[in-house]
Subunit: 284 residues, 2 copies
């Protein structure tokens, strides 16, 4: 049976390192602050927010939440977000998405300046991830996968990595981050022919499609590392990943669990990005 | 022996279609204009410029060249480029790169507004290519590969495509364009292990590394389509591609030549982008 990987040790290690960074910043009189901007009160936003608030507390980062009404007009929203962006005490801004449909992302996505855009909403940040510019902030879930691989000492250089999924939240930015680590990266998706066969080539397989347990045992090369980004509800009504854990755990050398896997690393990546932003803004 | 593919018929077909578009624009009183901005007089810039001027002429697009001195100061260059960008009669701007080292791209790359940035210098355009936003302009060489595949009716959906090379001029943007076509895309590079083996999986293989004839016969799957982006000088002092043509032509179903292959399609893509810009700017 493969090594079962949980996110907690990774999150703890990142947190520990952040605590030191934050202490050093506070010694200089700088207190990192995260501003969360939430429109309405969707359940999954609230759940993530709760985790984020706890994590920031552990890290010594001040978290603040701005809740805005669901029916806020575009002009008012723009004004609010600009004010948050202009606030000199705020280093990182997380805006929960998707926004209600009447709010126009075309305008909004540019309002958080790249230096404070810690969850990669601004296209200028997306371009940095595309280019491999290390001053950019990766989407937290994509970065969480890399943190897990780093923590467990998975060498990526020259490795065959297959990413299933091509979203702008995970698949595509993760492919770029893995290319930066000199992996040979294949991106698969719903149109990929012979998906099991392509996945079986992978030394590291990342599933980020959002389909319950779609990665089966015949997708896995013996000894592969399997990272499961999905969080779904299966036919039995239980939380599950994109990977059929039971079918894959014996073949994999390492495999992440769901829940308590990749998802539990994202808030520590968020905290890491706030500290990075704080340093960049203060030219440290 | 595989079908030997030249760029000219592709360029001709694109040009023919542009001529019609430009006629329609001129009927509305709109004359598409390309402004080329060149610092100094590098030989390869001049060669490309010459081809571009001829192509624009064929298409009915007005080309203008602004030549600036090699020692131009950053502030002066910024002023000149801003003036070009503000010129209402200019629809597309091509700035030859790399610029002399004293000129700072960090500032300059944002000066051409995305709507006129027809060779994908502005990060906002790069982000559009990354996201699959069709209002973006792809780098001309990357787009030229797609045009060739389109022209010759190569279906990409579900196909295994391998791109060798990960530059921001070809490899990475091309990978995104091919993903948009629903290909399964693998990006290889200098650190890829077993490169011949990975390439042999490809139904479509694109070589964009800039190493003379590095793709050998054992890289090619029987019946593959081979696109050669490289332009190099081989040991005999002759122009050659990244693909060892002699070794690969018998295995490939189709293979592009060098010179007169991908390179000869780029100026027609440039013209196509100018017309696209002209339409976007005029809300057509």
């Amino acid at each position: 049976m493969g090594q079962v990987i949980k996110g907690k040790p990774v999150a703890d290690a990142i947190t520990e390192s952040i605590v030191k960074d934050v202490e050093a910043l506070r010694m200089k009189g700088i207190v990192p602050k995260l501003k969360i901007v939430r429109v309405g009160a969707r359940e999954d936003d609230l759940a993530y927010e709760k985790g984020a608030l706890t994590r920031m507390g552990k890290c010594g980062i001040i978290p603040e939440v701005l809740e805005l009404p669901l029916n806020i007009a575009q002009a008012d929203f723009v004004k609010e977000l600009k004010a948050v962006n202009d606030d000199q005490t705020v280093h990182g801004i997380l805006l929960f998405r998707p926004l209600p449909k009447h709010l126009k992302m075309d305008e909004i996505k540019f309002l958080v300046e790249p230096a404070k855009d810690i969850d990669c909403m601004n296209p200028i940040n997306a371009a940095k991830i595309f280019e491999g510019d290390k001053t950019g902030y990766s989407p937290c879930t994509a970065q969480a996968c890399v943190e897990i691989l780093d923590y467990y000492g998975i060498e990526l250089q020259g490795k065959k990595v297959v990413v299933v999924g091509r979203s702008m939240v995970v698949g595509k930015p993760l492919a770029m981050l893995l290319l930066d680590k000199n992996a040979t990266v294949t991106v698969c998706h719903s149109h990929t022919k012979d998906l099991p066969e392509v996945c079986r080539e992978a030394e590291v397989l990342v599933a980020a499609v959002g389909k319950a347990e779609m990665v089966k045992g015949n997708f896995i090369k013996e000894g592969a590392v399997v990272i499961d980004v999905g969080i779904n509800i299966n036919a039995d009504g239980n939380l599950c990943g994109d990977v059929d854990f039971e079918q894959c755990v014996d073949k994999a050398a390492m495999i992440t669990v769901v829940p308590a896997g990749v998802g539990s690393v994202t808030t520590s990546v968020l905290a890491k990005n706030v500290v990075k932003a704080c340093k960049i803004i203060n030219s440290l």
